[in-house]
């Protein structure tokens, strides 16, 4: 099972790891005290997935997305990746996203006017404020990587990364995403407030930080990101880790307090995220630590719990059991 790592490739991996470090450092000039969140976002990016960020307004979700986008997109749209942002509102229509056929007076025919979805990095702000129709449209595109209108199918960009943000489900005027749609997001993170000291630092430097956002440099090109995504596939996953993923997924289905467990697709996503996370952390192999860190962001939003208490406990107890098994495992 152990994939032999070719020396040549591992040099490229070193390059990739360095690039990731540059990216993280770059983002951190703007976003302070959010190391893990940055790692998760990059994980989703490298795993060719999408990320959903949830928290109260004003915690830096949008800034985060913008910073990331600018780090890889650059200020000029031609050179780097294409970054678009859509602010979701209740009256938004699907065609506002995917585009529509309009009549070309010159050519006397309907031509397809591409919507904002035809981009590389999409920031879907406050996704749960849009109507379910719009949400489904977006999520379908995310899953299929293509848009079909009428008889024509339009593929999306090779690099298509959605950063969605949403306000907590309890807030008014929102359409909570159904579980089946939440499943489309590889990772869901809770942004959370920064710690006290970081907050103080932010207050002291808010001008500087805002300035940084304006002068954020593009550190990675599209090719480099695509390369990283390819590299991710090569990250080594030990048989026992695969088993651990299987066990965790199975345990969520068996757990008495979980009404809807994780699906097989979740498991595959899980594995992809593990690989990406290992790479983000500068490793070419997945360890227990990756499992520990990534399980909750990857699985939590896919599960339906019996009650709030279960939500707090169930997944971590499943994880603890598996971590303990792995911890004592003697792999030689």
């Amino acid at each position: 099972m152990d994939q032999p790592i070719v020396l040549e490739e591992s040099i490229q991996v070193d390059q990739a790891l360095e690039n990731i470090q540059r990216l993280i450092t770059n983002i951190e000039t703007v976003i302070r005290g959010k190391r893990h969140q940055i790692q998760f976002i990059l994980t989703a990016l490298l795993a060719k997935g999408h990320i959903l960020m949830e928290d109260n307004p004003g915690t830096g979700k949008t800034v985060m997305a913008k910073t990331l986008a600018q780090s890889i997109a650059g200020r000029s749209h031609e050179a780097g990746v294409n970054f678009k942002r859509i602010q979701f509102t209740p009256d938004l229509l699907p065609m506002d996203l995917i585009g529509s056929h309009i009549f070309d007076d010159v050519k006397k025919e309907f031509i397809f006017k591409r919507g904002p979805l035809f981009c590389n990095v999409l920031l879907a702000d406050e996704i749960n404020r849009a109507s379910p129709k719009v949400q489904s449209a977006l999520l379908e595109c995310m899953a299929e990587h293509q848009i079909t209108i009428g008889e024509t199918t339009y593929p999306l960009e090779k690099l298509f990364f959605t950063i969605a943000t949403q306000n907590p489900v309890e807030m008014e005027g929102t359409y909570p995403l159904p579980a089946a749609q939440l499943d489309r997001f590889f990772i869901k993170i809770v942004f959370g407030y920064v710690d006290e000291e970081t907050e103080l630092e932010i207050y002291n430097n808010y001008l500087g930080i805002a300035n940084n956002l304006d002068h954020i440099q593009q550190v990675l090109s599209m090719e480099e990101i695509l390369f990283l995504q390819n590299e991710t596939e090569k990250v080594q996953v030990h048989e026992e880790i695969v088993k651990a993923v299987r066990n965790i997924v199975w345990d969520t289905r068996r757990h008495i307090d979980i009404t809807l467990g994780a699906s097989t697709r979740s498991g595959i996503t899980f594995l992809k995220c593990l690989k990406a996370f290992a790479l983000v952390n500068g490793r070419t192999f997945v360890t227990e630590d990756d499992l520990q860190m990534i399980t909750s962001p990857v699985l939590d939003h896919r599960l339906i719990y019996r009650n709030k208490e279960a939500k707090a406990k169930a997944l971590s107890s499943i994880l603890d059991k598996e971590m303990s098994r792995l911890g004592k495992l003697k792999i030689l």
Binding site: Q236, H238, T287, A314, K321
Partner: protein, 872 residues
Amino acid sequence: MQIGRIHSWKKVTAQLLLLALPTIALAVYLLWDVNAYYNLLQNRYQEQSLFFATGIVTAIIFYAYRFRFITTAAILGLVYFAVYKFIDTLAVGEFDAFFISVRFLTFAILFSLGWVAGYGFSRSRYFTIFWSVFLLAMQIIVVSRTVAINSNTLIFAFAPVLAYAFYVIYTAELIRNMNEDEQGFTWFIGKRLIGFLMLAGVVLFALLLVFQKDFKAIEQDWGGAQGGKDKGGKESMTKDNKDGSVSNKDQMRMTSSLSKDKRLVFVARVDNFFPDGKTPNPLYFTSRYYTRFDTLTQTFETDDKIPSNDLFSPDPSKIPLYFAKTDSTVLTNTKATKNRKVVTADVYRVALSPHEYLAPTTAFYCQPIAVENSYKDQFKSAYRAKMWVSDLNSAYFIYNPAGNKQLEAFQEERFLELRSASSYAGVDKMFMDYYTFMPRDEEYNRIRELATRITKDANTPVDKMVAIRNYFTSKDEFGQPLYRYSDNPGIPGLPSASKLNYFLFENRKGYCAYYAGATLFLLRSLGIPSRIAAGFLTVDRSSKNPGWYWFYADQAHAWVQLYFPGYGWIDFDTTVPDQNTQQAAQPDGTPPMNTQQALLVADGQAVSIDTAAKKVTMKVKKLMYHDENFTTRLPKEFFMDVSLASISRDTGAAALSDIKPGTNIVAVSFAEAYKTKKPTDTDSLESILAKSPKPAPIDEVKIMETEEQKKDRQAKQEAASKPFDWVKAAWITLAVIGSFLVLLFSLPWLIWLFVSSKARSGNTPKTKAYNVFNASTYYLNQLGYTRHHQSPAAFAAETDKTFGTDFSRFNNVYQKVKYSSLPLSSGEVEMVNQFFPSFIQKVKQRVPLKTRLSRFLNIYNTLHFFTKPKIK
């Protein structure tokens, strides 16, 4: 409805094979053992084991599914109840009902026990510990009922349970933590078990080796005949032999209390009367002399090598009936010429040991005699003793004659006589040195001073003796007795003070051994040769049968004997009367009159026994006929009619069938047929036997046992009459629980030794990394720095923060080793090799030794290390 499983079939199989099977095996052993002790169980241990096995197997399979314990147990209880009711209606007779319900009860108990055990193995993680403790406790109860406790019993009783306890605790944990998905699952369990069993074997063996001495010591303490402690832990002047008989004790240790009982020990007739011929003159019965005081143990000791040994102590049970054993050397060793005469005493044993020979001073003759048939159920055996008795000796000699003019006159007469005794100048120096020895130190100087003070007016040894007696019976300034009698004199508060000093100067309360001991030193400090005699004091209660005395266990006594040149050893008793307890006069029974005269006594081996016709043929080696002895080199056959004979042993009546060919027997005849035929000078053993009627009428047959037979029978009797000994049980409990705890508490340390040695030993970097990581986390965990559910990296970071170690870097290497096939760089290999010693060093520096020690005692930390969290 689909019932969810908790354990996979693999786990259940492992539980059944590795936990249930050994448990059942142990249960078979224990039940077999228990059946030997409890009749109620009816020796059906196979069946009982089956009940237990059914319970445990059912429960393990049952609880592999998601069943709740309380509801299922309640249902089980209901089923029991229903079956019980059903049996009740079914059973016909009361007797049947009893036996069926007893068997049902054993079934219910054992099945439930198995059920609970199965549940515990299946679900509870700490159950094995409780279970082991439970089994050990059960075993302690069983063992404490065992009669003959020796090191083998203990080993056989506890070694299996202890071994099982460790095995099961370990294995349960192993099964709990096993990786069910791993390939070679059997090998995983198997190799660990083999390793564990070897380790456990070594530990157990070492433990037994270490404790063997203790076991032996305990065995000696309990089983040996030297002990004298009875149930209350009180000291007694007599000891209970294993066959239920009584002897005087070998040692007279002065301890805090004395217990007495009213058991009749023996009855004696002493042919000693005052010159008037009808007033009986009782004599104390001596068993042995204590001549040496061991200052270390505070014990008076007997001494085999006393100068001029005048103690005649034969074993009456070894002398054939009516044959006598005489030791004339004691007569010369008494060194007495004046006022001595020969007195005869017949001693009839009740509880007295058959090996014990008691007689007044100075005995030299012992002849076992037959007990007349009508008394045989009361008296087991008898012997006649003859002694060289001083006229001056008497139980009345010192004691208050209570207004009896005759006795007062007698006393005065004796004192006068003894005052005229010559000085000790002419006595052998060695003899004097031996009998006047006392230790020289501060404590004994105090006694010397007291002795000089209280005897300052007395000139002769006998006056000094009387002065000492008067001192003990004197009153203090308040008119109260200065010394009191007490069976519970209490233990001296200051450990350094000798008990004698404490008795003489502080407490002034004690029983005979105290008075005798104190008197002995008072006398010896004055240079008067003296010794302690132990035996029975004689009380003359009988007016009906003069000369007959009854001896009860509470008459066991100690007193002093003084040596007077020419007069020999004379008894003196300085123990003050017991004022608190009014000695209730015990009624004396009818003495066993023995009017028959043994005319023919034949000693030899039985050849053939016809139990139907009651005829016995024996080969006679020795013959006594009309008190004349005949012997022969060639044993002669003698055909006897034993239809009227009473057959006995030392311990009481026996049956004809007890005589086997080869048994040593003594046949006695009181028959008229012999009365007239007196032996002539020309008669020999052969001629007398030839003249005797055929078959010869025999009235008494006594079975003399060979040594093996004796031991055999004693062992059996021992088994029959041992009461439950709580002290013993407590000791075993302590020993077993102690060793169990020692092992339990040293377990974390032993594991640490194992893992750290593995971590230190050279190996491939991969195994080494694993071993080092394992040992490091074990060490941290044992010290209370638990990993909980942290990921390795988070835990390593925290450890580094606490101890300033390099754990994170090592962990990175370890994770790489564990999860990737990438080769390690030389730096990383170096890291793996160098990390462990410095890491432990750093952790040790931060944690004080005391903390480390206490944490290492915590077995729960260790258990926690092997714990696998449950899904909640």
